[in-house]
Symmetry: C2
DNA sequence: GGTCTTAAATCACGCCCTAAATTAACCCAT
DNA sequence: ATGGGTTAATTTAGGGCGTGATTTAAGACC
């Protein structure tokens, strides 16, 4: 029950580099003078640490601030080009690869569609390899400049000492897929390059927390509402975040059969796939041969038609019921985690949100305990459906910061703390 | 998103004191020589740190070990009398106060029964004050020697800057009770004495983790199954533990009304109170005028009578169904947290456990996702129904260790990280 | 008693952070 | 333009810390 904490005086320096980098990153250009109270360090140490970071090329000057008598403060910022990250979103219908600079500015993106139910591992690994090669070629960035590759996937990600990240995606038929070692052997990238493979909801969560509607909160639950539903709990420290197999919480003992095999999972009532299934069962007729997104749009239009037209009672009923199930599912998270905010993202969530959010809020409040329910806000995410890649790219970046901006000395150990 | 990590070189020393203390505490008497690799420190530093701890009276020599040539190793241990803790269990039917020495050896205990439904705050605070005075008097220990008072309560514990710990116990009618400030003003203890108020399930969890069936696991979920049900997630670091309002997860949308007001909570199907209610509804006749514990024993006897007698089908049915709901409820925790172990404690759990555990395991496996379900074990706790006080006493002890064995410099901040 | 073995203490060294003292950079009034 | 006034950044003691090598302590064995 010990766990080494930072043994030598050198670790102090690493921690202080991290603190300076983070402050500079989030609170914009800043002078050394402001940095001191912000990080809790003395002016002397700030000078010292900043000099080191500038020498390393991680921090650069960014002009000075007007002074009315007295030496002007010189502003500092993290150098955007001192490192790059790749973010990959292995989604339900496509694999998207994006390349970012340190400030999470998108430099290139590429997307490869997946065939329906086409969760073939080989194909996806191929897509990722090709995608990475493409964005690197497009921007003329050498792999050596990369801080790492972040990948968001559906399902549970476990870590083994031998194979690294292993994906257990029960709903997509992935059983113990050693994605990390597959990527390592397939992509022609430097051997030391770290891969960060994590649940897609969790990467989305980081993105919302750093740049979206979660910014400023001490913690939040971010829901990825797409074909199925997932969620994650995020806090200000990236390492603390936890992905939650929310979709497979039991909301109705002996209820509907879920695609995971169990009875009464939330996923069987609330994901886009489940909604369309239920609509069909109730006599609804989604358009044939289109993708889920189009079908869901049609369902929404049927339930809430334009002025004058009649609403489809089946669609309306299914959506209303889904709101109740979502509310009940959220109440579980509210009771367990007492988050400040709940943010709903994912293409289906963003599409349905404006319609069903009030009902979801109502049901969540009625199913949850009063104290935590009073303190939580439930809203849509602020980043659009493409944020999973951003979140994936945050993983290597956060690790880079945690290492004090030193490449190579990575501690993946931090991430192994599940549960 | 920074958070200071340990700014000055002095924090290093504190961390190393913590490491040495913890190793010595858990891995028994140990020589300086063994301590070095165990803590990752050099021999020189061990000598140095140990000398300091001995000077502080926290560590003492404990004999030497035989040598076959060479200087014999002198063993060291944490001095049991260098500090004491009080653990309080505010339970459903009584308030229990116990006094422990540093090794969690019980020095004195006292118990005060509560009247049925008697959750009057004043009364309970009085019981705690009297109980503390009693155990201190009995052992002649002055309050100055206390490291702190730990209190396990039902419900959610929040922390406010002004009032300290505030308890929201919806099922016992406590709405924002500022228990910490009430205790501070009521008990005549030193002003600086820290109080650690936490959910009872969480304190039980720590006890199981340190001394019970959770020992050695990286993490575990501990269930407190009494009149109602609660749970907590515990890890090796005390600060990381989290209490979970498990009893109010929704396991059946639009299901039975729970005493918290919502529909379909697990608590409405699985706590001892709910079991007895349901038995009554199905025509069972629990003994009148007895306490819940006796009634539950009767129910169990009715469902599983001695050889030859006929089983009460109603009782049997209710218990069987409860096993399914418990299994489903556990599956939620399995999916969310992927714990290594689940331990069921609390008086009702320990009583019912031997009968229903196999069914609970079966249902949990069928409702949970395959990967985490394969990795979890579900067992009874190892500590008996009285462990809540032990766990409560662990809270000040863990804090003392985290502060490197220095009184006064407490950082309650660590505990404020909810969610 | 001398030698070997092993544990613990001591010491020189390099590093780190703080606080105080300097130096740098700029404004303004004379 | 020049010297005082201000404020920012750097430099300089001063005190701590952990490491790794070296010494000292303590016992066993011959």
């Amino acid at each position: 029950m010990a766990g080494r904490n930072g043994r030598t005086v050198r670790d102090l320096r690493r921690g202080n580099r991290t603190a300076v980098l983070q402050r500079l990153y989030f609170d914009g250009p800043m002078s050394r003078f402001e940095l001191a109270p912000a990080t809790g360090l003395s002016g002397g140490s700030i000078s010292n640490v900043v000099a080191e970071l500038v020498a390393d090329g991680l921090v650069e000057e960014a002009g000075t601030v007007e002074s009315d008598g007295g030496r002007p403060r010189t502003l500092l910022r993290v150098a955007p080009a001192s490192g790059h990250m790749i973010g990959v979103d292995v989604g339900e219908t496509r694999v998207r690869v994006e390349l970012f600079d340190l400030t999470l500015t998108e430099l290139a993106r590429t997307e490869r569609p997946l065939e329906r139910q086409g969760y073939d591992v080989e194909v996806i690994v191929g897509h990722i390899r090709d995608g990475i090669a493409e964005v690197l070629a497009e921007t003329d960035i050498t792999p050596e400049r990369l801080l790492g590759v972040g990948v968001g996937v559906p399902g549970i990600v476990a870590r083994t000492p031998e194979q690294g990240a292993v994906v257990h995606g029960q709903t997509i038929g992935w059983d113990a897929v050693p994605l990390e070692s597959l990527l390592r052997s397939t992509c022609e990238l430097p051997e030391t390059l770290p891969y960060f493979i994590d649940n897609g909801a969790r990467t989305l969560g980081h993105a919302e927390m750093w740049f979206g509607a979660g910014h400023g909160a001490a913690n939040a639950v971010v829901v990825l509402f797409g074909s199925g539903v997932g969620a994650c709990l995020v806090t200000q420290e990236v390492e603390q975040g936890r992905s939650l197999e929310w979709g497979h919480l039991t909301v109705r003992v002996r209820g509907r059969r879920c695609r995971c095999g169990a009875l009464g999972c939330l996923d069987a009532y609330a994901g886009a796939e489940a909604l369309l299934d239920r609509w069909r069962e109730e006599g609804g007729r989604p358009p044939q041969g289109t993708d889920e997104e189009t079908a869901l749009t049609a369902m929404l239009a049927a339930a809430y038609p334009a002025e004058g037209a009649d609403a489809d009672p089946a669609a309306l009923n299914v959506l209303e019921e889904a709101a109740e199930y979502l509310g009940a599912g959220l109440s579980d998270l509210i009771n367990l985690f007492q988050p400040e905010r709940i943010l709903i993202g994912g293409w289906a969530g963003l599409q349905l949100g404006p319609r069903i959010l009030p009902a979801v809020r109502r049901y969540a409040a009625s199913y949850a305990l009063r104290h935590p329910a009073e303190r939580v806000s439930i809203d849509l995410g602020g980043l659009g459906p493409d944020a999973v890649t951003v979140g994936a790219a945050i993983l290597p970046l956060a690790d880079f910061f945690a290492a004090g901006g030193q490449r190579g000395t990575r501690g993946r150990a931090r991430h192994d703390r599940r549960a």
